[in-house]
């Protein structure tokens, strides 16, 4: 029996015998975002995990501020910050096994970095250098995806292929609240559910799609409710509670790994910075809204838990900050070096073997560059 054949075939039968295929109740997501920090459940969480999450959160925040600073210095073309969303980014990275795959959007360089990617490589695209600065297979991180929601079917296909091959691999795909409106979101979730692919969809509901607030994006009770229509479980989690996100994602991944199929997770969080450095969020939201969220900062939440329960001391927190500073200093230094790009690389990877048409264009560019070099050698500019 093949994987596709395993599933109980559903055939429509005449109405008298017609029954819903499963009780819808278990598909209904949590009524309120699941929380762990500050609740009794926190005591059940491995303190080591909490400390690891904390260190990564501190590092992640520093990464965000450093990257934003680099845009001001013209060292990054653009940066969509995940400040305020670090709990989601970090938990997504830490919850995966080595063999699993991460499918980040443009906002999720931090998740890639927390998974082990060199920050400079993760920022290659946003620096204005080549589109993907890393071999996706090395850390099993798909290319940062810019066209909204299009990475979701990729994650489904990869997870499905792994399952067909008998590999114990789960894919985690990240997307924003706005992206859930795209057709590709729908198609991906449906394929995943029909194929029972081992994939988890993490929606970071940060309240906005650039300037468009969630109320103009959906009329659903929550984005997690979208799971119902695909016949998959939906979960709602406090996206600033790193322990809760880790737990909910962990359960979804375990479920997928065990052959239970996909889960949709909505993490409620907030984008503390503008959409990117090029955005002007004063145009569409009040400072007061942003301020209200500061009280619910993901680092502060976790820090309160750790200190309150004596799981970390001042030295431990200082160590986290130092590690973050070291990362930032290294990042700053390396980003301040101008990358050297070879213009001839324009033609290097369009096809396995360039077409004759491309070879002609390549020759033209080479001649131009040679002429330029000659022009430089020849300051009188006798040749153009």
């Amino acid at each position: 029996m093949t994987v596709m054949e395993q599933r109980g075939a559903y055939r429509p039968t005449p109405p008298p015998a017609w029954q819903p295929r499963t009780d819808p109740a278990p598909l209904l997501p949590d009524a309120l975002p699941h929380r762990v920090l500050g609740t009794e459940a926190a005591a059940q969480v491995d303190p080591d995990l909490l400390r690891r999450l904390y260190a990564q959160l501190v590092r992640g925040r520093r990464y965000n501020t450093q990257a934003t600073a680099l845009t001001k210095q013209g060292r990054l073309a653009v940066y969509p910050s995940s400040t305020g969303q670090e709990a989601c980014e970090v938990a997504a990275a830490l919850v995966l096994e080595e063999r699993d795959w991460l499918f980040p959007s443009y906002r999720d360089t931090l998740a890639a970095v927390a998974r082990g990617l060199d920050p400079v490589q993760a920022l290659t695209l946003l620096r204005g250098d080549w589109h993907t600065g890393y071999d996706p297979r090395e850390h099993r991180v798909a290319p940062l995806c810019t066209p909204l929601a299009t990475q979701l079917p990729h994650a489904v296909g990869l997870a499905h292929a792994a399952r067909l091959k008998g590999d114990d691999v789960v894919a985690l795909a990240m997307i924003g609240d706005g992206g859930t409106s795209e057709g590709d979101f729908h198609e991906a979730l449906n394929f995943a559910a029909v194929w029972q692919a081992p994939v988890v969809f993490l929606v970071q509901n940060n309240g906005f799609a650039i300037s468009v607030p969630l109320a103009k994006q959906t009329a659903a009770p929550s984005l997690a409710h979208k799971a119902v229509g695909y016949g998959m479980p939906g979960r709602l989690v406090d996206g600033n509670d790193a322990a809760a996100v880790h737990e909910v994602l962990g359960e979804a991944i375990a479920h997928a790994r065990a052959g239970g199929g996909p889960t949709l997770v909505e993490a409620v969080t907030y984008r503390m910075e503008a959409h990117t450095n090029a955005d002007d969020d004063k145009r569409y939201r009040d400072d007061a809204d942003v301020e209200a969220w500061r009280a619910h900062d993901p680092i502060a939440l976790l820090e309160r838990e750790l200190t309150g329960r004596g799981l970390i001391d001042e030295a431990g927190m200082a160590a986290a900050r130092e590690d973050a500073e070291a990362m930032a200093a290294d990042l700053r230094e390396r980003m301040n070096q101008d990358p050297v790009l070879d213009p001839m690389d324009l033609f290097a990877h369009v096809y396995a073997r360039p077409t004759t048409q491309l070879l002609e264009q390549e020759a033209m560019l080479r001649a131009e560059l040679d002429a330029e070099t000659r022009g430089h050698d020849d300051p009188e500019g006798a040749t153009r």
Binding site: G128, D129, T146, I210, S211, V212, Y284, V350, L365, E368
Partner: protein, 334 residues
């Protein structure tokens, strides 16, 4: 007519003014898209419109391009004139089925009973240091789709005139807005009565006798610069700004090439299967015996749009244009 002192305006402002004036004149004109409301669009073209006309007429839609264009079809069926903004060239692709299978065919399908006066605004092209998917020149897709008009301005005044004409048209019009000219300025007085350009007329931007540069949109200023530089080499180049790709102004283009006997087509879009092939072919069909050399093309390479740090090597620049002019077989001139 007396010459009046005019303040310079940007092309983005001219597009915005065209939207405003069209909305003020015609209550059926609606603007819709991602972030067109409070934000004023990522290029600020729709700045201020929602304040003036309200959310019913300037609508931040859910984030779904097929949905935006598809609902615009229904709105047009009911008598509205939707102006749809696609945020960037590459983000119009999800709407292609609606565009090709419906928007372009609706009038024909209904035997003229139901025209769809939809304007689709698409910021296009590179040169702005944008990351992947933010710099595509996608005009080849639009011009190969019968039933669409496709226009692209190169001056501030044409931005106003062509967008007004597009909105006024009873047919769907794709307005390709050259991103890197959004902040270009012209002496243009928005408070003067403005010309609404008829769709389908090219214009000679610079007279010349040696050869014709046929171009449009973001490449027009580059060609004008090349024409200036060419004087040093002894070439007096004519520059034709097409303004409209569909319909195509064969008359103006052919007349120019018959005069000069040589032509180069210049655009950012990739060469293979791009508009340049069409233009070169139809110029050759019409002017064969006037041609001293084959019509050449200077275009983007046939590669996915490169990263910001390399885009200058990809984009047709002055030198590449002059190199092409140099290859127009001047030795053959008898």
């Amino acid at each position: 007519m007396t010459t009046v002192a005019v303040k310079p305006a940007t092309m983005a402002q001219a597009f915005g003014r065209a939207l405003r004036d069209a909305m003020a004149e015609d209550p059926t004109v609606h603007v819709m898209g991602e972030d067109v409301g409070a934000l004023g669009g990522v290029f600020r073209v729709t700045d201020g419109l929602v304040k003036e006309f309200g959310e019913d007429r300037v609508t931040d839609t859910p984030l779904a391009e097929a949905g935006i264009l598809g609902t615009a079809v229904g709105m047009a069926m009911y008598g509205l004139r939707p102006v749809v903004e696609m945020q960037f060239d590459a983000f119009a692709y999800p709407a292609f089925e609606q565009l090709i299978s419906h928007v372009a065919r609706w009038r024909n399908r209904t035997r003229g009973a139901m025209p769809l006066p939809i304007t689709v605004r698409v910021p296009y092209g590179g040169g702005i240091g944008g990351v992947e998917h933010h710099s595509d020149s996608s005009e080849a897709y639009y011009i190969a789709t019968p039933g669409l008009h496709v226009v692209t301005p190169a001056t501030v005044a044409d931005a106003y005139g062509l967008l007004r004409a597009a909105i006024a048209s009873d047919d769907p019009v794709v307005v390709l807005e050259p991103k890197r000219l959004y902040w270009s300025k012209d002496a243009w007085n928005p408070d003067e009565p403005q010309a609404v350009e008829p769709i389908g007329r090219a214009v000679v931007r610079r007279r010349g006798r040696s050869a014709t540069l046929i171009t449009y949109g973001p490449s027009v200023p580059v060609c004008l610069e090349a024409a200036e530089a060419a004087r040093a080499e002894g070439w007096d180049l004519e520059v034709v700004d097409l303004r409209s790709l569909v319909p195509f102004d064969d008359e103006t283009v052919s007349a120019s090439v018959r005069r000069t006997g040589r032509a180069v087509v210049v655009h950012e879009s990739g060469s293979f299967g791009g508009p340049g092939g069409e233009i070169a072919a139809r110029v050759t069909e019409r002017c064969f015996h006037h041609l001293e050399a084959p019509v050449l093309r200077v275009a983007g390479f046939d590669i996915p749009y490169p990263p910001p740090m390399l885009e200058r090597h990809h984009l047709p620049g002055v030198d590449r244009i002059l190199d092409a002019v140099a290859r127009l077989q001047w030795e053959a001139r008898s």
